[in-house]
Amino acid sequence: MKILIKFLTYHSFKHTLFKIHVLIALYFLLPVSNLLYAQHIDATLRFGHITAENPTIIFKKYKPILNIISKEIGAEVILVQTTSYSKMQKAFLDKEIDIGILNTFSYITISDKAELIPLVRRVMNKSGNYQSYIIVRKNGNIKGYSDIKGKILAFQDPYSTSGYLVPKIMLINNGIDPEKDLKEVLFIGTHDSIIYAVLNCTADVGTVASYIFDSADPKIKDKIEVLEKSKPIPLGPMVIRRDLGKELADKIKITMLGLEKSKEGRITLQNAKLRRFEDAKDSDYDILRKMVEFLKKGDKGK
């Protein structure tokens, strides 16, 4: 599996002659890369990361962090990714994944059932929060919520916080029922793809995590307008299964919290586009739980 993931990083391979080979390799890997399962090996810690972004980007961002954890605990740590958030949740529930980064919505969905301990929270800006953006094309005709009606909207994943949960509530609060008032609702899988989807007219409206939109290609951002921004949302936590023991959980937590203190750690954080990790508590996510409650009520109301 490690080797397969490594193949994905070949885009940085400079030699032009190998491009065709790489492409062929990618072609054959495609069905696999859509659903990457780890084989169960006891000595290996399986690290899952929700597919907010393209798997290649995530692999690049998190491999150094995984290496540090691996060094610290003396076991191999491999990165596991799935094609959707629900599959990642299932993998946690099935104990196919030991540790990982979950998005907020996924966390609150499975934290009890999967017996997950929140370790740390990613901090990207000043705080460990981010926002959900509702984006549209600049040259399009959508100037406000009212224009969204009858358009094609792209959510990211049914378990995405900023790409589903939060924007859905925002839409509902502004009088738009995504299930009735829209021409079509798409689930596009990754935040970066949503930006492209809005750009290339696959969708008219997109919902995207602020940190991903903000770091997008300026040329692309030029053509995209952020229609609405949500209130701050806490970023999803790094979690570990309770059954792996407190000792391991503390060790990893301390390691993660200590990253910003060493030069090597800071470089690693920078590579993952993070400022630092901060202590995470389950109660940090209560605000989201309320949102879910709200949605559920809404559903019941129908």
Partner: protein
Amino acid sequence: MNLSSKFILSITILITIIISLVIFTILKKESAMILGQMQRRGFVLTDVLAMASVNAFLNYDYSTLKRYMDIVAKDEDVISIMIVDKYGRVKMHSNSSLIGSIIDDNFSIKVLNSSQPVFQANKISKKEDYYYSAPIMAGDQKLGIIRIAMSNKNAALEIKTSRNRLLMIGALTLVIGILGAIFMAGMISKPIRRLAEGAKAVSKGDLNWKVNITSKDEFGILSDSFQYMTRNLRKYIESLVKTEKLAVLGQFASIIAHEVRNPMEPIKGSAEILQDIYKEDVVIKKYTQIIKEEISELSSFLDGFLELARPQNVKFQFIDIHSLIKETLTLSEHYLTEHKMRVDISFSENLPQIYGDPQQIKQVYMNLILNAVQAKRRDTGLLKVKSYLKGNKDFNKKLVIVDFLDYGQGIPNEHIDKIFDPFYTTKEEGTGLGLSICLSIIERHSGKIEIESELGQWTLVRMNLPVIYMQEELTSKEHE
């Protein structure tokens, strides 16, 4: 234009033509190959990208499409890549600012409308860019197309580099070829020039010119032939001069015959009369005797002289060589005994007769005997006379050969060539006519006379005379 220039020019033209042809052919092939390779690469890239894009396209996974595109775009020849949906909307483009636009150029419309999952390569003439397109097929459903634009800039550069390299190799070959041609021209024309110089020199009369080409090729042979020619020419001219000399001598001799010889008999007669009248007078007797003797000597000199110049009373008949030799020996017997000269004879039997003047032949033998006696080194001397027949079955070409071999002083090498010249003598009392007369007599008989000698050892005079058969004789011999 001289030979070398012609040679160099023709070689240069030849090399230039060949090099041009070779360069032209190679360049054409190489260009085709480079462009062909580029085209194949374009096809493969497009095809692979189209196949790889199906899943991502279906899943709206544009970031993955972008990734694939970035990899392909790293190829230096790729100008742009676009993924277009079936409606002509650009879903992904290597240039982000074009994402979302609609394409409506002829090529794209043609490709979009093509239901066949086949490649198309269009060459837009002005820019020399190549467009490759392949449909993105999910089963038999066409999702869209991949379009890759490639520039032949690198290929053109490669072709240019290759052309420059080829031209340089060509130029180098040409220079080497010309240098080689110059060298070869020198090698060929040098002996020709020397032969030409030789011919010029000979034409101006310098027969001693030496061409001196030692090479073992045709030039060597030519040079040898040239040398042989000049040598023979020289000999011929020398013999002409000799003949001329003899002709002058002949004229001179006839004058002498009339103007000198005629008064000699009256002088001699007068001296005899004086002797008769003054028998007792010792003084008169003494001087008349001197007159008589000198007149006799002068007379015999003149005889020889005349004989050489204008042989008279030549009476050819069939003669037996052996009896002629014997007669001569008998005549000179007294003289030989006096000078203690021994003569060994070895005659081969049954020699055919020769046709000639017996008196003249005898004169030749006498001359040779006298020469042999005079060349004696010691008190006594030895002369070997030998006769034999030489020749093949063809009777007409048979020769009777007579050798006179004496063991006297011999003749120095430098004199051998001149020994037959009239008035050439090494003896104090010689007239220098003896051997000249011998030569002219033998030549008159269609024979040859040769002299070989080893200084201080021996001298061999070899005469050959042709055997001439009468017609009846020949016929009878044939019948036998």
